[in-house]
Each structure stands twice: as C-alpha cells, then as structure tokens.
C-alpha cells in the first residue's frame, strides 16, 4: 500500500548516475490519516458520552400549612411498602403492616434483578388482576430510613422505572413498628419475619 513512487519505474537501470532526480512530490499520508481518525474517534466519543445521565423525580406538592396536607386514602390491597434500611437492607410488606394481605408479610429482599424486581413484577400482575382496571395499578410507598443512603434510593427508583410501576411515592414518616422492622437484626432465617401475629 504505502510505498513511495519513485518517479521512473527503474526503466533505465544502470544508466548514468542520476544527477538531478526530479523531487518526488508525493508524501505518504497514511500514517497521518490514521492518526487523524484516531483523534476524531476519541473526540467524538468523549463529547457524546460524557454527558451525565439523569433521572427525573417528581414530588407531590408540599404545603407549609400542615393541616392542608390531606391524607390520601388508598386501597390497601394495591399498596406495597418498601422500607430502606442501613447496610442495603430492604424490607417490604403488602397492604397494612398489621394486616398484610396473603403472602405480604414483612420480608427482606435484596436489591436488583433477582430480589425485589421479581417481587414487584409478580405483585404488579396480582394487583392488576385484583382491580381489573388498567388505570388502577400498584402503588408503591418508598420509605427511606435515616440510615439508608442515596444509592439505595436511586436503586429503588430505578427499579420503579424498570418495572414500570404506575404510582410510587417517597414517604418520610416511620411508625414505631416499621422502625422496629428495620432496626432489629433479622435472625438466622432470612425468610418472613412477621412483626405482628
């Protein structure tokens, strides 16, 4: 590919010593082009990929006047509450804590694909079957405790986006029972730990 064309193709071999060989005006540009394209690739990738990703979060209106914040009543059969604790602990229950729906007793889950996501997906279908109305899907209440960190919050919001939960909310107040649920180290059995008999 890249050889210099020396003017005459060696036709007159052995002729007299070339005195004034016409200067070859072709320069090999291959290496230069290689380099240029390498740099182009670099700049293209860095400009488009360096833009930070973001996730949109809408919070409900907050009225400074406490009395005006109306409590919204929802069907407990549609709700799932997710408690975020320290050390990446996650506990969920379905329905009310005192009277969870069947299979909805407080239980610890792991973050990610094989943990909470499976549960969310199956619950989502169950709720749809229960209501029989597409507009009335699952409601997830996310309660991050004081010990949870920001990664936990983003992770769980990300799960909401992946599973496509129609309604979810971040709620900050904890009942004493819920604190207990997170605070107490779950004993050897990682399965269901019903807080209330």
């Amino acid at each position: 590919m890249a050889e210099l064309n020396t003017g005459d193709g060696g036709g007159k071999k052995g002729s007299k010593k070339v005195r004034s060989k016409k200067g070859n005006n072709k320069v090999d540009l291959t290496a230069m082009v290689d380099l240029a394209f390498l740099l182009i690739t670099f700049f293209m990738l860095t400009t488009t990929l360096s833009k930070p990703q973001s996730m949109n979060l809408g919070l409900p209106d907050k009225d400074p006047d406490k009395d005006k914040n109306k409590d919204v009543k929802v069907d407990e059969n549609r709700t799932m509450t997710i408690l975020l604790g320290d050390n990446d602990k996650l506990v969920r229950y379905v329905g009310l804590l005192a009277t969870p729906v069947s299979g909805g007793a407080p239980k610890e889950f792991a973050y990610g694909k094989d943990g909470i996501r499976k549960e969310l997906l199956s619950r989502k279908d169950a709720v749809l079957q229960y209501t029989g109305n597409k507009d009335k899907g699952m409601i997830v209440i996310i309660k991050p405790s004081k010990k949870s960190n920001y990664r936990n919050l983003v992770d769980i919001l990300d799960e909401m986006a992946i599973v496509n939960v129609p309604t979810y909310a971040i709620v900050n107040d904890f009942t004493p029972e819920e604190t207990k649920l997170l605070g107490e180290p779950v004993s050897a059995a990682p399965a269901a730990t019903p807080a209330n008999p």
Binding site: M1, T30, P52, M55, N56, S145, Y150, L153, V154
Partner: protein, 198 residues
C-alpha cells in the same frame, strides 16, 4: 500484465479527517475539575441532562456545593446574592465567578475563593454552603439563580441533585426539602450509566 500501483492518494482523505478533527476539538468543552468528586449511583434510566438552564447541587460528605450553567446567569446570580447579603463584588470577581467550577463556601467567604488562582482553589477547604434553617444560603442561591435565569434566558431553571452514593438519606432529604419549600417539585437526580442487565 501491467502491475497496478497500490498507493492511493490520501490527500483528500487527510483533509476531511483533519477538518472533522478540528470541528470536534472546537466543539468539545473542557471538563472542569470537580472540587468535590462524587461517586454517583448507577441507574438504567437514560435521560440526558440539559446543557443549559441547569443548576446542579452536588452533595457529598454532608456538604453541598452549588453550580449553575451559563456565564450571564452566574454573574446575575452573584449580583443578586451580593445585594441580599450586603456584599459588593467587583467586575473582576464576577468574571472569575462566571468561569469558576462549583463552589461550597458561605457567601461571605466567597471572595477568598475567587481571589485564589484556580490551582490554589483545590487546596482551600470548602465547608459546603450553609443549609440549616438559621442560615439558609443554599435556598437563596437556588432562588436567585432561578430569578437570574428567568431574567437572562426567560426560562425556568432546572435543578439537578448529584449525590454521592454513600451519602446518607437525611442530607438528601434536607436538600429536597429546601427545593420543595420553593415549590420545586420536579428535579433530576444525576446518575451514572448501567447496562440493562446488572
């Protein structure tokens, strides 16, 4: 059989390549060094942050840093903050502020940071912007940046929270509350990129 020459004329290709190269170099914006590097948590959501009309609140180690895009907005924000806290900033200060990276000092100490050279700034201990209820400068920064952005660009400022993954939730909540007090109920959380399947 005539032997064909294998060399091609690269001149045109070279021209094009360098033209593109120049274009990309010029359009690329230099990354400003972060005063406080944070490790953002990953997510699969792939919304890009807007390039302008954006203010970023960086949260890490309990401290909050503030940054707003756009030189004109920054200058106006600084003027408004100066008015509010009875401080005067010279034109030189404003110019420095316009090109500065994010900062995390009380507005009273801002002049020290502005006077320092960019290389010295790294060594200055920045305690974060005060955000408690007695001295809530963060709320003022956000408020004034919003006013400035509407004045300059006639657009509502968007807010983004860039938190460190290990940051504890109460700090994040405190910042969200400050935003909510100003009726900002919609904002972005800056995240890193993660593949579809973990």
């Amino acid at each position: 059989m005539k032997k064909k020459s294998t060399s091609t004329d690269m001149t045109a290709m070279c021209d094009v390549a360098f033209l593109l190269l120049t274009f990309f170099i010029l359009t690329a914006t230099a990354k400003v060094p972060e005063v406080m590097p944070v490790d953002t948590p990953a997510s699969t959501v792939q919304t890009k942050l807007p390039e302008k009309d954006l203010a970023t609140l960086t949260i890490g180690k309990g401290k909050v840093f503030f940054d707003v895009k756009g030189k004109d907005v920054r200058v106006r924000t600084l003027e408004l903050m100066g008015d509010k806290y009875g401080l005067t900033f010279s034109d030189d200060d404003k110019n420095k502020f316009a090109v500065m990276e994010s900062f995390g000092v009380p507005v009273q100490n801002l002049k020290q940071v502005l006077d320092a050279s960019p290389s010295e700034r790294k060594s200055i201990q920045q305690p974060g912007i005060p955000k408690d209820s007695l001295d809530n400068q963060l709320a003022d920064w956000v408020q004034n940046a919003r006013i400035a952005n509407i004045e300059k660009h006639d657009k509502e400022l968007e807010l983004a929270i860039k938190g460190d993954a290990k940051e504890e939730y109460p700090v994040i909540k405190r910042v969200m509350d400050i935003l909510q007090d100003q009726k900002i109920n919609n904002f972005s959380l800056v995240t890193g990129l993660r593949g579809k399947e973990k």
